[in-house]
């Protein structure tokens, strides 16, 4: 057993963890943040993507203890308190960029990390930005459309 401090979606936590626990298990099982999905457990699919200190990481490949003092954003941290969707979420909804939805949280977080650094990416840059996230349903085009649209929404300053 080990105790770590970390911030998740703006909230500070002090949590007891097992040494062999993965970050995805901490999020899902200790904090009940079930929007982070496990598609492969091997760093291949990106379904478990979260943002850790500004970078996208696959939470199935990060050990929980490595998140000591980290600042983490999961899909649950994107909506405003009043339930207003984040512009990326709104764009995914409007563009039909989610089908089965299992890739969606990871995909949206990869998009966020991209747009935070590069507010007006080209389509090629968007494709690179989500290259670590597999989607078996959509064929990606609508996802790229949604991220393009989100960039415009964000530039206009919100929803």
């Amino acid at each position: 057993m080990k105790e770590i401090n970390l911030t998740v979606n703006g909230k500070k936590h002090r949590i007891k963890i097992d040494e062999n626990m993965r970050l995805i298990d901490l999020l899902r099982e200790k904090l009940n943040l079930l929007g982070t999905k496990e598609g492969c457990g091997e760093g291949e699919c990106g379904a478990c993507s979260i943002i850790m200190d500004g970078e996208v990481v696959t939470s199935c490949l990060v050990m929980a203890f490595q998140a000591e003092s980290a600042d983490i954003i999961t899909i649950e941290g994107l909506e405003k308190e009043d339930g207003t969707l984040h512009p990326i979420q709104q764009a995914f909804l409007d563009e039909g960029a989610t089908q089965c939805g299992f890739c969606t949280p990871g995909m949206i977080l990869s998009a966020k990390a991209l747009l935070d650094k590069n507010p007006r990416p080209t389509r090629v840059e968007i494709k690179e930005g989500i290259s670590g996230n597999l989607c078996r349903c959509t064929g990606y085009n609508k996802i790229v459309d949604a991220i393009e649209k989100a960039a415009i929404l964000l530039e206009k300053g919100g929803n």
Partner: protein, 431 residues
């Protein structure tokens, strides 16, 4: 009714509609079975065969000693019929004396933690007496090939006989004769199989699992449990993709048995690796095609033999190989056709439904046949297609008259605008 009048009545067609479940998915709130946690729940793990064909003896005694193990289910614990399958009941819920493929389920371990279940899995002793296997469907059709199931390896033979191909080939100026092979394909839906089952206060068995066929699952769970269907409820929460890969039973019956045997909720989540071995694949096919045309490029005859490898279980093989047989002529009018399409058992991973249901494999053959014929005739690939394609009123190889929308010509012309197939060849002939 006039066109405009119809249009006024359409509220959905032609419009962008927001998915009913879109909001739950973009917020991460959609509940897939792996997201369900119940009080007092146990975890299940499946011990699977690592040999493709063998007689087995299973000894669970060492596994039962592992701390935290509550129950290990084997074939003898199946309360009703130890079988399932969408068309033929050729799968065993848990294999009793013989395994027919790598990945066949042998035991289902139920424990307080996943770790305990895994430890017990390693301790279960399976004695394999390996049998000759057959891994090539063409070999499997021969007399004397190892039998995957008692009734022989040929599951299904579909025939089309139209006109007289023998006579028609004599009239042909060009003939293309080629063998094509396609490979197995995995669906890789993003959410691996998962489920949770429990028994409610009225004794109803409830299985929550992502599935394409809740009503079928209900029937199969009831038969295996030996109880009436009204005692089984299947709940289908969010499904993380399927593409045909969730049409067969995987963990549903195991979970129902475990919940009944322990009286506690039991959850099971497959790893990606287990998901790969647990569900069906797209049928690999061997397609021998002979297609003939006259000197103007008009198709006169086609003869085809298709052999689909359905692996150890039939699943939807009949529908898939029938569909392949129906579609092997492509979207073309051919007056003389002879098709034989077979589904064959082997000891390979089993094949079933996957996007297209047999119609996906055959274009690889019929379209290359068209290209070969075009080349032999020194004709461009578009012209030969335009000359033969289905239009309104065409008769298919199975005798169907196409009476409604057949806009293939328009589609090909649009493609031509971008691809310029006819460039350099005037009117289909080289300049």
């Amino acid at each position: 009714m006039k066109k405009e009048e119809i249009k006024l009545k359409l509220n959905v067609v032609g419009k962008n509609i927001i998915r009913v479940d879109g909001l739950s998915k973009v917020t991460g709130r959609a509940v897939y079975p792996q997201d369900i946690y119940m009080d007092n729940m146990l975890y299940g793990k499946t011990l699977r065969s690592d040999k493709p064909h063998a007689n087995i003896k299973v000894d669970i005694s060492e596994g039962e000693k592992v701390e935290g193990v509550v129950k290990i289910l084997t074939a003898k614990d199946v309360p009703g019929h130890n079988y399932h399958g969408v068309l033929f009941k050729d799968h065993e819920v848990l294999c009793e004396t013989r395994v027919r493929r790598i990945g066949d389920p042998i035991a289902f371990i139920v424990a307080e933690t996943e770790e305990a279940a895994e430890e017990a899995m390693d301790k279960i002793n399976v004695e394999y007496e390996e049998l000759d296997g057959v891994f090539d469907p063409i070999e499997a059709m021969k007399k004397g090939a190892p039998k995957v199931h008692e009734d022989g390896n040929i599951v299904y033979h579909y025939k089309i006989r139209k006109g007289n191909v023998e006579d028609a080939f004599k009239e042909c100026d060009v003939i293309a004769e080629t063998e094509y092979k396609t490979h197995m394909v995995e669906h890789a839906f993003l959410q691996p199989e998962a489920g949770i089952a429990y028994v409610d206060d009225d004794g109803m068995i409830i299985v929550v699992a992502s599935t394409q066929y809740p009503h079928f699952d209900q029937l199969e769970v009831a038969e295996a449990m030996g109880i009436p269907t009204e005692k089984v409820r299947i709940i289908n929460p969010a499904v993380g993709g399927a593409f045909g890969g969730r049409e067969d039973i995987t963990l549903q019956i195991h979970l129902a048995m475990a919940a009944k045997a322990t009286g506690r909720p039991v959850k099971c989540t497959y790893s990606r690796e287990e998901s790969f071995v647990a569900h069906c694949k797209r049928h690999p096919m061997v397609m021998k095609c002979k297609t003939g045309a006259d000197k103007n490029g008009k198709l006169l005859a086609m003869e085809a033999e298709i052999v689909g490898d359905t692996g150890a279980y039939a699943s939807w093989a009949i529908n898939v190989l029938r569909k392949a047989g129906v579609h092997i002529t492509g979207p073309y009018e051919i007056p003389n056709v002879k098709v034989d399409s077979y589904a064959v058992y082997t000891n390979n991973p089993f094949a079933g439904a996957m996007r297209g249901f047999g119609a996906t494999q055959v274009p690889i053959a019929h379209e290359q046949q068209m290209d070969i014929l075009a080349e032999k005739l020194d004709m461009d690939p578009m012209t030969i297609r335009m000359k033969n394609m289905f239009k309104l009123g065409s008769e298919t190889a199975t005798g169907q008259i196409l009476e409604e929308s057949v806009p293939l010509d328009r589609c090909i012309q649009e493609v031509e605008k971008v691809m310029n197939f006819t460039q350099g060849k005037k009117g289909g002939e080289r300049e």
